[in-house]
């Protein structure tokens, strides 16, 4: 059937979107209560997490099943691709807010605090800083674990591309091996980062409260780490599908969507390495 005659696949009614919205409502409500010292909030959050988990399995599961049943052809595939591309664009802007904050603080507000001398005489206004009223701390050095982590993430970008080649050339073992390697590298990265955080908190005096250095350091690397975690979960789902025999050389948006996301996370890390750790 040619594309012009083919109808676009509009899915039937689905309970998942409204359930997901409901789960997010309960999660938000529980969180708001929890941080305001209402301990009942945590039970809301646990219930919501269970509901959201159920929805994610169900929703993605039904999309995968529809794809396996041949409902998605090139026209639908293009929608997914555009959708993922614009989603990543919005993620770029999310990180841009935190990078913008870092640049503003380093180049404008901290130097101005150093020049004012009114409330805090003697404050130098140089980076890194925990602020005029902050505690001393040791900034994170770039050329130890962070450099190693850079190497690990860059390698994982290579391995996921290698897996993609395997998929395109119908070498299933290469696809599965490449994905497994990518996930392993992602987990290794997260392990090193957890170690680094632990070290920072226990021995370097570097924590969320360590002035603007601590705040920007942990928010930027923390949100990046969260995205690595999400990407790794996505890769694991794709690995499971690859083992089950899903994906063909001309129908594997699920793989590519996750791979794009992984490369996006990689690029964010390079920015982090340069602007947070190194310079």
């Amino acid at each position: 059937m040619s594309e012009t005659e083919q109808g676009y696949y509009v899915p039937d009614s689905s309970p998942y979107p409204a359930l997901l919205a409901g789960g997010m409502f309960v999660l938000a409500l529980g969180f708001a209560l929890q941080i305001n010292d209402e301990p009942v909030g945590r039970w809301f959050m646990i219930a919501a997490a269970a509901l959201i988990g159920y929805v994610l399995f169900g929703w993605f599961g039904s999309v995968i099943a529809e794809n396996q049943a041949g409902r998605f052809l090139r026209w639908e595939d293009r929608s997914f691709r555009w959708g993922m591309a614009w989603f990543i664009a919005s993620e770029v802007m999310f990180f841009a807010a935190f990078f913008g904050t870092l640049f503003y603080l380093r180049n404008i507000s901290v130097p101005e605090l150093g020049e004012t001398q009114l409330i805090w005489p003697g404050y130098r206004g140089t980076w890194p800083t925990s602020g005029p009223a902050g505690q001393p701390f040791t900034p994170m050095a770039a050329w130890g674990i962070p450099a190693l982590n850079t190497l690990i993430l860059l390698s994982s970008a290579v391995s996921v591309t290698w897996a993609h080649w395997g998929l395109l050339k119908q070498r299933r073992a290469q696809l599965i091996g490449g994905l497994a390697l990518t996930i392993a590298l992602g987990c290794l990265f997260l392990g090193f980062q957890a170690y680094e955080y632990h070290h920072a908190y226990t021995e370097m005096g570097l924590n969320l409260g360590a002035g603007v250095y601590g705040a920007t350091f942990f928010m930027l690397t923390g949100f990046h780490g969260l995205h690595v975690t999400i990407g790794a979960i996505g890769l694991a789902a794709v690995l499971g599908r690859a083992i089950k025999g899903h994906f063909t050389p001309d129908n594997h948006f699920g793989f590519e969507g996750v791979a794009w996301y992984w490369h996006f996370v990689d690029v964010v890390w390079l920015m982090l390495f340069v602007f947070v750790y190194w310079m």
Partner: protein, 531 residues
């Protein structure tokens, strides 16, 4: 779900009925209807709040409420009106009309579409819930900082602010997902022959709106996240003791906040030429010019935010930059205005309700635009900033430009959606009462603002008493007039003279080729657009 299972579910069968139909729908018309109904409900919720405020401001002195409640009402009024009345109304139109206008069978990602909608009622519940919790002794009420929640005030505010932050997160996810859906639909689901430069202007307006939303909503999400960690997790983003800066919050907020004005107005500016052209029985003048003007305003919108915070302190160079860049927006905006006027120039005009609202929008929004030019002047802004002049200015843009434009759209498209004509007489009464009461409400506010009355105060000096009384009377008439709107809408849904496919004789476009109301699924085979 197995393949066999899916084959069963995938076959065409009757959709669920009752509440389940609306909770589970994937149909763009159903979802568009839900957006519009939600918007209408929240319009009255936000309106009721501000009538309480205007009642308090009827006379100098404190009559009805404590200042804390007053502060909560003005902030929640703004958040409700912007995020839950104006934006969902525009998104509802987008859902209804974009697939019809471009010949698409539905939105590109129908389940995502439903998720985008169903995030809104939870967000509204989160925002409003602290009012109720306070009655049971939990917390101190809703967000009390005004809708801009500047640090450091917002760092100190009660738990209502946390609820507002999380509501904004849900609203933001909803907006970004809705925008992605619109962009993908326009990119991928246009009928053959529907090239970009043939897209109806409403679709163009919404496409650029969607780009702006994808660009700026995540920044707002980042800003409120930093606010949340400053409040509860010990960070110092907005606290100078840790090297942070409260002004940073203002920059982040207005990087979102200024494009937000155009996000609210672009859908209206897109639908205005459709209405003008239909009732002047002339083609749209300057189609290309309007598309380019949308692009230029869209791009400028993200680089001019500083004019909202000129008095917060920034270098002279920055002041000059923000002043000139802001004023430069008046050039593409004038292009739009002149194209609208040229469209009706020497047309065979008739003045049905949609046309009245569109023309009223142009005139009154023009006042909002011109007073914006005044506020953009860095030297003058020092006098006007945070006065009632600003309140009057942005109500001329957001009420006259936004809500009156939305109402023009409602009257224009409601017969298409319901299959019944509107009650013209009541609708005309609605227009004239709205236009007059709106001016009675907000015109005096320019003058009290120029005379020095600050905004966001529950009490004021005696010299402002008469104009505030006029303003309050206007507000109550304006509120009552909207009940007429409700009556017209409900009457049109329940019945009325049947509407033909081409509801208005001068209207052009694909949406007027399908019956009124359109069948549940339209364009399942793609129409082909000729030259």
């Amino acid at each position: 779900m197995t393949t066999a299972d899916l084959a069963l579910h995938g076959s065409p069968h009757a959709p669920p009925r009752g509440l389940m139909r609306w909770l589970t729908t994937t149909n763009h018309k159903d979802i568009g209807t839900m957006y519009l109904v939600f918007s209408l409900v929240m319009f009255f919720v936000g309106g009721a709040m501000i009538l309480l405020v205007r009642a308090e401001l009827f006379q100098p002195g404190m009559q009805m409420m404590q200042p804390e409640l007053f502060n909560q009402l003005i902030g929640v009024h703004a958040l409700v009106m912007i995020f839950m009345a104006l934006m969902p109304a525009a998104t509802g139109f987008a859902n209804w009309m974009i697939p019809l206008m471009i010949g698409a069978p539905d939105m590109a990602l129908p389940r995502l579409n439903n998720w985008s909608f169903w995030l809104l009622p939870p967000a509204a519940a989160l925002l409003l819930m602290p009012f109720a919790l306070a009655l049971f002794g939990v917390g101190s009420g809703a967000i009390a900082t005004g809708w801009t929640f500047y640090a450091p005030l917002s760092v100190q505010d009660g738990m209502g602010l946390d609820f507002a932050i999380l509501a904004i997160h849900l609203l933001g996810i909803s907006s970004v997902m809705g925008s992605i859906n619109i962009v993908v639909t326009v990119f991928n689901l246009r009928a053959p022959g529907m090239t970009f430069m043939k897209l109806p202007l409403f679709v163009w307006g919404w496409l650029i709106t969607a780009f702006m939303l994808i660009a700026v909503i995540p920044v707002l999400a980042g800003a409120v996240t930093m606010l949340l960690t400053d409040r509860h997790f010990g960070t110092h983003f907005f606290n100078a003791a840790g090297g942070g800066d409260p002004i940073l919050f203002q920059h982040l907020f207005w990087f979102f906040g200024h494009p937000e004005v155009y996000i609210v107005l672009f859908p209206v500016w897109g639908l205005t030429p459709h209405i003008l052209s239909a009732f002047a029985r002339k083609p749209v003048y300057g189609y290309r010019a309007q598309v380019y003007a949308f692009w230029v305003i869209g791009i400028l919108s993200v680089i001019v935010w500083g004019h909202h915070i000129m008095t917060s302190g920034m270098s002279t160079g920055a002041l000059l930059y923000f002043m000139y860049s802001t004023m430069s927006i008046s050039l593409p905006l004038s292009v739009l205005f002149f194209c609208w006027i040229a469209t009706i120039w020497r047309g065979a005009m008739t003045f049905e309700a949609p046309m009245l609202f569109a023309l009223g929008m142009i005139v009154l929004f023009g006042i909002g635009g011109l007073t914006g030019l005044v506020l953009a002047d860095a030297a003058a802004d020092a006098q006007y900033h945070h006065s009632y002049f600003v309140v009057a200015h942005f109500h001329y843009t957001l009420f006259a430009g936004g809500i009156m434009g939305i109402m023009a759209g409602v009257y224009f498209w409601l017969p298409k959606m319901t299959g019944h004509m509107i009650d013209e007489i009541l609708a005309k009464w609605h227009f004239w009462l709205t236009a007059i009461a709106f001016n009675l409400t907000f015109l005096p506010q320019f003058f009290v603002g120029l005379a020095g009355m600050p905004r966001r105060v529950p009490d004021y000096a005696l010299q402002f008493a008469e104009f505030n009384m006029l303003s309050s009377i206007g507000a109550f008439v304006l509120g009552a007039a909207q009940l007429l709107f409700l009556i017209v809408v409900v009457k049109c849904i329940r019945g009325g003279p049947p509407a033909p496919a081409k509801v208005w004789e001068g209207a052009e476009g694909l949406e007027w080729t399908v019956p009124s109301p359109p069948p549940h699924h339209t364009f399942q085979t793609r129409p082909v657009i000729g030259e």
